[in-house]
Symmetry: none
Subunit: 404 residues, 2 copies
């Protein structure tokens, strides 16, 4: 679709705001039969839904539960099945590591092995982040020929390994590598194998890293080994600002979402830790950009905690911010999310997520509430997430006719 | 999609029941403006729809009327446009012939030709099944080099021809063959041509069979010739139990549907001739399988007969069985069908078919009736049939996240 859209793009001065409520969609609670959205008091979102075109967004495919990567790529207009991003790259983005083209990134676990080298705990008792910091310090001593090896703490037992070819005489790195994590205890970690001839040198380097790591961690405790998986390089994605002809800004308090926006070439604006900070950043940059991706994390956090009431409150807080955003008079205002995080699942869900698109030209439908059920009967129907951006562009009058 | 789903599959102990009402969907009767589903009294299906996610399933593509083969492959998660099964194979499955890998099957008609060899009746007056049995007996005398030729009565003027290479010194069989049936009277049957070089030997064998058949039937009456079409071999399908990680059982009183389930690798459970027998089989095997495909034929039969009232009664009979199925406490219960058979068409139709998916996590929508019109406004939207199984797997919590 991007190839169809790009040649149709025209320039104007319209302003677009996409507010993404992370983990937006939910499910009815058994006791009441009402979802988080149906329970919350959301006068401003209801008003917006009443004036706007409503529908449901499906991010990957029916029944598929999206991770944050595919969830956001879809919102940004990319088919998440076509543009896949490996776990290692997502972890690196999640800590805002400055990943560069050609780098190979992997997700690492600190783990424990017994005297015979068999895994006894894949997460080393979910060790504390302070211990992780101490262990990564040890691993940073590892030297490999022709590459720099970065070892970065993520959280608890998780870290990121990044290999970067040295500028002079550097190794040629490739990401087609098998994983060392057998995803089971009682087995030894697997050696990394090259999945194609180009990745042979990289496989040898990673195996050398693992051997060194085992030696350096032998007496470290509480972990004495590492597991590596999800080897990948930065994907080659069409750049969002060029495809859509939009001076594009991302406003997100959490690093993962800044990383995903950067991945598609958006400018990541400096902001603070709260949603109020994000709104201040939005106001501040209103004149310098055409498109604003504004990320709201609280809904997902409450859903992941399985805390229905907290998610209701997070929705109500967001609702109170809607008038501030509308006061800026965007030409197109979209409210949706990157995936469902139903409190009753205490995790991401596969359910499609409500969306409202408001503009002078959106056409109203019969929907008067911003809920899963109400939006399911909206005029947008149930659409793949990558169809959202073309609709947004159309509402911004930024697409010309297809065919004469 | 199967390639996307398979790596996401995880194991648990949830139970899934898919009830397929053959020829489920209908059309309004002129006199009342109400379809069969809208006319029938279906308290249990209405209750299920109220509690469940509803939608419409489209089996092949808009406007395409599915046969039983594509209809069921779609329900089982296979894109019916990608996985095509030839008529010969379907006819063999329909009589539960033990078709094996490499066999070439064709659909046969007994027909009549005049003195000049031109077809006068493509169905030989739709001769009776007893006569068919007598004629196939004659054809079984035909001997071909290197292959066994099976000639099996289907019904009336229809039979199946299966060629099977002998274990020792057998011919190499291939299915790329043109048809002998010109689909018109006044023309002679066509010789079979190989559509690719690998099928040359098979074409020669089939032409020899036809020559012999003409000789053996010359004085038989009321048919004196055969027409052959739909040559095919068993398709190589991904196996359903492995793709979805489900111990899968099919419960169907009719051979065609047992054959289709076997084609994708399901275990076909022995059952009786009625739907009550099927329910008894379901109860009996509840503990030994994860997934049950339960087939209900009466709706299609009534629709094919153009008998609106009989179809209404068939729906009401099925409705009364729903509590028995729910009493087993499946984790996921799906009710849908393999295609529409509107009574006003007295045959299969292209209309999408209602579907309900019930689980603890399905999310309710506003739909309170199991009808074409009501389900059209459901939260599932109008989905291709092959998207049903991923949704079912998600509702069974048997799929992990896609992307981190």
């Amino acid at each position: 679709m991007l190839d169809v859209i790009a040649p149709l793009v025209i320039q104007n001065t319209t302003k677009i705001v996409l507010v993404s409520l992370d983990g937006l969609g939910g499910l009815p609670r058994l006791e009441t039969g009402r979802s988080e959205l149906e329970t919350a008091h959301l006068p401003n979102l209801s008003q917006l839904a009443t004036e706007a075109a409503c529908g449901l967004i499906r991010h990957v495919a029916p029944g598929i539960t999206p991770g944050s990567g595919p969830g956001h790529l879809g919102l940004f207009g990319y088919d998440p099945l076509h543009y896949q991003v490996g776990r290692g790259v997502l972890e690196a983005l999640g800590i805002e590591f400055d990943l560069r083209a050609g780098d190979v990134a992997a997700r690492g676990n600190f783990c424990t092995i017994d005297g015979a080298g068999r895994i006894t705990d894949r997460r080393a008792g979910r060790l504390a982040t302070e211990i992780n910091l101490r262990l990564t310090e040890r691993l940073r001593k590892i030297r490999l020929p022709g590459v720099e090896a970065f070892v970065e703490t993520v959280k608890e037992y998780r870290f990121v390994l990044v290999l970067r070819a040295r500028a002079r005489g550097g190794a040629h790195l490739a990401a087609g590598l098998s994983e060392t994590d057998p995803q089971a205890t009682g087995q030894p970690p697997l050696p990394v194998k090259a999945l194609n001839p180009r990745a042979k040198a990289t496989a040898a380097l990673v195996n050398r890293f693992v051997t060194e790591a085992r030696r350096l961690l032998a007496d470290a405790g509480p972990a004495n080994m590492v597991l590596l998986r999800g080897f990948d390089q930065l994907p080659k994605l069409p750049r969002f600002p060029e495809v859509f002809g939009l001076r594009s800004a991302a406003i997100a308090a959490y690093p993962m979402y800044r990383g995903l926006a950067k991945l598609v070439g958006m400018e990541v604006l400096k902001t603070g830790a709260t949603f109020d900070d994000e709104l201040a950043t939005l106001r501040e940059h209103w004149d310098t950009h055409d498109f604003f991706f504004v990320h709201y994390k609280d809904t997902d956090k409450a859903g992941e905690d399985g805390d229905f009431d907290a998610k209701v409150r997070a929705l109500e807080r967001l609702d109170r911010a809607i008038p501030e955003i509308r006061a800026l008079k965007p030409d197109v205002l979209i409210v949706s999310g990157d995936h469902a995080t139903p409190s009753v699942l205490a995790g991401h869900g596969w359910q499609p997520v409500p969306v409202v698109i408001w503009s002078r030209y959106c056409g109203a439908d019969g929907v008067t509430a911003f809920t899963e059920r109400a939006c399911g009967a909206g005029s947008l129907g149930v659409i793949p997430s990558q169809h959202l951006m073309p609709l947004v562009m159309a509402n911004a009058l930024r697409l010309t006719k297809f065919g004469a």
